[in-house]
C-alpha cells in the first residue's frame, strides 16, 4: 500500500513526462545534392546550421538514400537534381524533392512543415537577390510573428505534468476503492459488518473517506514533485484546484464503489477497472486535444469524469483560470458525482 502511494507517482511522473514528448528534436536527413551549385550548397548549409536537423548522409545515389529510408535510419531525403540552379534562373520548375517517411503521420507532418519553413526562408533570400529589375512590382510577403502564451518555450512537460496528476489521482481513487471493497467481500468481512448495528451509509462513508483523503494528499504530493522536479508553473488558485478535486473525487470514488458491485473477486474488479481506465484515459485528452475527436466521442466524454478534471487542472495550473471559467465543468462534475454516488450506494446496498 505505501509503495503504491509514494513510489508509483514519482515513477510515473518521471517516466511518463519524459517519454511523452512529441517535440521534434532530431530530424535525420539524407541529402542527395546532384547540382553542387551555389544555390544548392546554400540550401544544404541552411539545414546544416539548423538545430533540428541531423545530416547523416551525403551521396549522389537516390537508390542508397531510399534504402536507408526503408531501413528506418533516416526520416527525410532532400533531393536536389542536376541542373537545379540553371532551371531555377530560367524560371522553370526546378524539381527539388522531399521524400519523407510518413508512417508516423504526425511526425511526418511536422517534419514537412519545418522543412518547408526552412526552404521558404531561403526562397525569400533568392527572390531578393535575383528578382530581375524588369518586374517592377516587388513580390508580396506577409510577415508572420507568433508567440506562445503560458509556455513560450513549448515545454511539453508543462503540459504533461498536470495531465498525469489527474491520471494518478483517478487511478488511486478508483482502483484502491474498488479493490478494497471487493476484498472485504472476498474475505467475508463485509458480511460481518452487515450483522453489526452500524448503518450501511456510515459504513460506506467510513470506507470511502480514507481514500478521499489519500487521493487529495496524492494530488498535493504530485504537485510538489511537479514543482520541484519539473518546475511547472502554478499560476492559478490552489484552493480552487483542491475544491474542484474534492468534488471530482466524489465522482471517482462513486465509480470505484459502483465497479465493486459488479465483481466478486479482486481479479474481476481489476479487469473492469482496467477496461474503463483505459477508455477514460485515452478519451480524456491527456495526449490529444478533445476537440479533434469525432462527435460521438465527445458525447461519450460527457460520461468520462477524467475529461473534466483534465481540462480544469490544466486551466487552473497553467493559465490561472478562475472560478467562472471553470463553472461549467464544476457544475457537470457535481451532478456527475451526485448521480454515480447514489447509483453506487443503491446497488451496493442491494448486493452486499
Amino acid at each position: 500500500m505505501l509503495p503504491i502511494i509514494f513510489i508509483v507517482p514519482i515513477v510515473q511522473l518521471l517516466i511518463l513526462v519524459h517519454a511523452a514528448t512529441l517535440e521534434m528534436k532530431n530530424i535525420d536527413m539524407y541529402i542527395v545534392d546532384k547540382d553542387l551549385s551555389s544555390t544548392s550548397r546554400g540550401i544544404v548549409q541552411k539545414f546544416e546550421s539548423s538545430p533540428f536537423y541531423h545530416i547523416n548522409h551525403h551521396s549522389f545515389s537516390m537508390q542508397d538514400a531510399e534504402n536507408e529510408l526503408k531501413k528506418g535510419n533516416i526520416d527525410i531525403i532532400l533531393h536536389i537534381p542536376y541542373g537545379f540552379e540553371s532551371e531555377l534562373i530560367k524560371g522553370n520548375d526546378s524539381g527539388l524533392q522531399l521524400l519523407i517517411d510518413a508512417i508516423n503521420g504526425t511526425a511526418a507532418g511536422l517534419i514537412q512543415s519545418y522543412t518547408q519553413a526552412v526552404l521558404a526562408d531561403y526562397n525569400r533570400n533568392i527572390m531578393l537577390k535575383w528578382t530581375s529589375p524588369v518586374i517592377k512590382e516587388k513580390p508580396l510577403s506577409i510577415e508572420i510573428t507568433h508567440s506562445f502564451w503560458y509556455n513560450p518555450e513549448l515545454n511539453y512537460q508543462t503540459y504533461m505534468v498536470p495531465g498525469i496528476l489527474v491520471l494518478l489521482v483517478t487511478l488511486i481513487g478508483m482502483i484502491l476503492t474498488s479493490l478494497n471493497l471487493v476484498r472485504e467481500k472476498e474475505l467475508g468481512t463485509a458480511e460481518q459488518i452487515n450483522v453489526t448495528p452500524i448503518r450501511k451509509y456510515h459504513f460506506i462513508t467510513g470506507k470511502l473517506f480514507p481514500f478521499w483523503i489519500i487521493a487529495l494528499f496524492e494530488l498535493a504530493f504530485g504537485l510538489l514533485i511537479g514543482k520541484l522536479i519539473f518546475d511547472i508553473p502554478i499560476v492559478g488558485n490552489l484552493g480552487l484546484l483542491f475544491l474542484f478535486a474534492a468534488v471530482y473525487l466524489f465522482a471517482i470514488l462513486g465509480a470505484g464503489l459502483f465497479f465493486s458491485t459488479l465483481a466478486s473477486t479482486q481479479q474481476q474488479v481489476m479487469f473492469i477497472n482496467f477496461f474503463f481506465m483505459l477508455l477514460f484515459i485515452l478519451m480524456s485528452g491527456l495526449f490529444t486535444p478533445v476537440e479533434t475527436m469525432p462527435d460521438w466521442a465527445r458525447v461519450i466524454n460527457i460520461a468520462n469524469p477524467m475529461a473534466y478534471f483534465m481540462r480544469v487542472n490544466r486551466m487552473i495550473l497553467l493559465k490561472g483560470s478562475g472560478f467562472y471559467d471553470i463553472l461549467p465543468e464544476f457544475v457537470s462534475v457535481s451532478i456527475y458525482a451526485l448521480i454515480i454516488l447514489s447509483l453506487a450506494v443503491w446497488r451496493y446496498r442491494k448486493t452486499v
Binding site: 519524459h18 514528448t21 537545379f84 524533392q97 514537412q112 508572420i144 479487469f271 490529444t288 479533434t292 483560470s321
Partner: protein, 368 residues
C-alpha cells in the same frame, strides 16, 4: 494427449464463463482500435480560433475565409481588442488568436509586406505548435498564390512525397502498437494470472500430484491463450485493413510467423511472472507495471523513441514490443522481407529463450 486436451477444454471454460475476462479479451482490442482509429489523432481538426481583425479589408477577409475553410479551424469569435485575448484563453476553448494589423491590405499593396501576429495558447504545447505551423502554411500558400497572379518571381517549390503513408494516416502508427499491446496483455498478463490463480486456489497441487507432467500443465494453461492471442492478432490485422485501410504490403505468412514468435515471447514472460508471484493481485500489478505501461510509453507506439532522453532510449532496447512494432511496420507498410527485420527477429528469439530458460529454472527450484 487426451488428458492434455481435457485440461485445455477446462481452461477455455474458465475464460468463456467470465464476462469480465471476455471484456478484456475481446472488448479491449475492439474498443482500442476504434479509439485509436477515430479518437486519438494528432491531426488538427476543428480547432477553435479567434480573430482580431483591425483592418477588415478585402485581403484580410479573403485570408480569413481561406483559413476557416481549410477544415483545420473553426472561427469561435471575432474579438475587438487585444486585451480580450487573455480572457478568451482562460475560458479555455480558443487555442489561437490571429491578429491582422490595421491597414493590412493597404500596406500589403503599397509596401509589399504586412504583418500578421499569431498568439497560441501553448499550455498544450504540441497542439499549439501544430496549430501555428498549419496557420503559417496556409498564409504562405496564400502569398504564393497572390504572387503567381502578379507574375512569377524566381523561387522554387519543393515537391513533397510522403512515402508509405500518403495521407498521413494515424492508423499506420497505432495498429502495430495496439497489436503489440493486446498480444502482450493477453499472452503475458492473462496467462500469469490464470497460472497463479491455480496456485492460490490450491488446485495446482492437485494437478501436480496427478499424472499430468508439469510441462503439460503449463502447456495446457497457455494453449488457450495462444489460440486467443492469435485470433486477436488476425482480428486486428483484418479490422485494420477493412475499417482503416491499413495495407499488408509484405508477406502475410511472415507477418503471422512474427506474431506467433511475439506471442511465445509474451507467454514466456507470463510463465516467468507466475513463477515469481504468489497472488493474482501481484501477477496483475507486475504485468501492468513491467509490461503494459512500458509498452504504451517506451515502445515508440505513441511517442517517437528518437525524441526521448538517452536513458529512456536505452531502456527501450529492453522492451520487446519496440522490436515487434518495428518488425510489423516494416512488413505491413514497407513490404520488406526477413532480410530487413532479421535483427529485430533475432532479438525477440533471444529474449524468448532467456525468459523460457529462466522460468524453467524457477519452476524446477520451486518443486524441490
Amino acid at each position: 494427449m487426451k488428458r492434455f486436451w481435457g485440461f485445455v477444454l477446462k481452461e477455455f471454460l474458465h475464460i468463456f464463463r467470465d464476462p469480465r475476462t471476455m471484456l478484456i479479451l475481446f472488448g479491449m482490442p475492439i474498443v482500442q482500435i476504434l479509439l485509436f482509429g477515430y479518437v486519438i489523432t494528432n491531426e488538427i481538426k476543428d480547432i477553435k480560433i479567434a480573430i482580431l481583425d483591425q483592418s477588415k479589408d478585402p485581403v484580410t477577409i479573403e485570408l480569413t475565409n481561406k483559413i476557416i475553410s481549410s477544415g483545420f479551424f473553426i472561427l469561435d469569435r471575432n474579438i475587438k481588442n487585444i486585451n480580450e485575448v487573455e480572457d478568451v484563453f482562460k475560458e479555455g476553448n480558443v487555442r489561437q488568436v490571429i491578429i491582422f494589423e490595421s491597414g493590412f491590405g493597404r500596406k500589403l499593396k503599397r509596401e509589399g509586406t504586412a504583418n500578421i501576429q499569431l498568439i497560441a495558447d501553448a499550455s498544450d504545447a504540441n497542439t499549439a505548435n501544430l496549430v501555428v505551423h498549419y496557420t503559417m502554411a496556409i498564409i504562405n500558400d496564400f502569398v504564393r498564390e497572390q504572387n503567381k497572379l502578379t507574375g512569377s518571381p524566381i523561387q522554387f517549390i519543393p515537391e513533397v512525397r510522403m512515402l508509405y503513408n500518403n495521407e498521413l494516416k494515424g492508423v499506420y502508427m497505432f495498429i502495430p502498437g495496439i497489436m503489440a499491446m493486446i498480444l502482450i496483455l493477453v499472452s503475458a498478463m492473462m496467462t500469469s494470472i490464470s497460472i497463479v490463480r491455480e496456485k492460490e486456489l490450491g488446485t495446482m497441487e492437485t494437478l501436480l500430484v496427478s499424472p499430468l507432467r508439469p510441462t503439460q500443465i503449463i502447456l495446457g494453461k497457455v494453449t488457450p491463450y495462444v489460440a486467443l492471442s492469435f485470433i486477436n492478432a488476425v482480428t486486428i490485422i483484418v479490422m485494420g485493413n477493412l475499417v482503416f485501410g491499413m495495407p499488408v504490403q509484405g508477406s502475410i505468412i511472415l507477418l503471422l510467423a512474427e506474431s506467433i514468435l511475439y506471442i511465445l515471447l509474451g507467454l514466456s514472460l507470463g510463465i516467468l511472472i507466475s513463477t515469481i508471484t504468489k497472488s493474482q493481485q501481484n501477477a496483475m500489478f507486475i504485468s501492468l507495471f513491467t509490461l503494459m505501461i512500458p509498452t504504451i510509453l517506451l515502445s515508440g507506439f505513441i511517442f517517437p523513441i528518437e525524441n526521448m532522453p538517452k536513458i529512456l532510449q536505452w531502456l527501450s532496447f529492453f522492451i520487446p514490443p519496440r522490436w515487434f512494432i518495428s518488425i510489423i511496420k516494416n512488413i505491413m507498410l514497407k513490404g520488406t522481407g526477413l532480410m530487413y527485420v532479421w535483427k529485430e527477429t533475432l532479438i525477440l528469439i533471444v529474449m524468448t529463450s532467456i525468459f523460457f530458460g529462466l522460468s524453467i529454472r524457477k519452476f524446477k527450484i520451486r518443486l524441490e
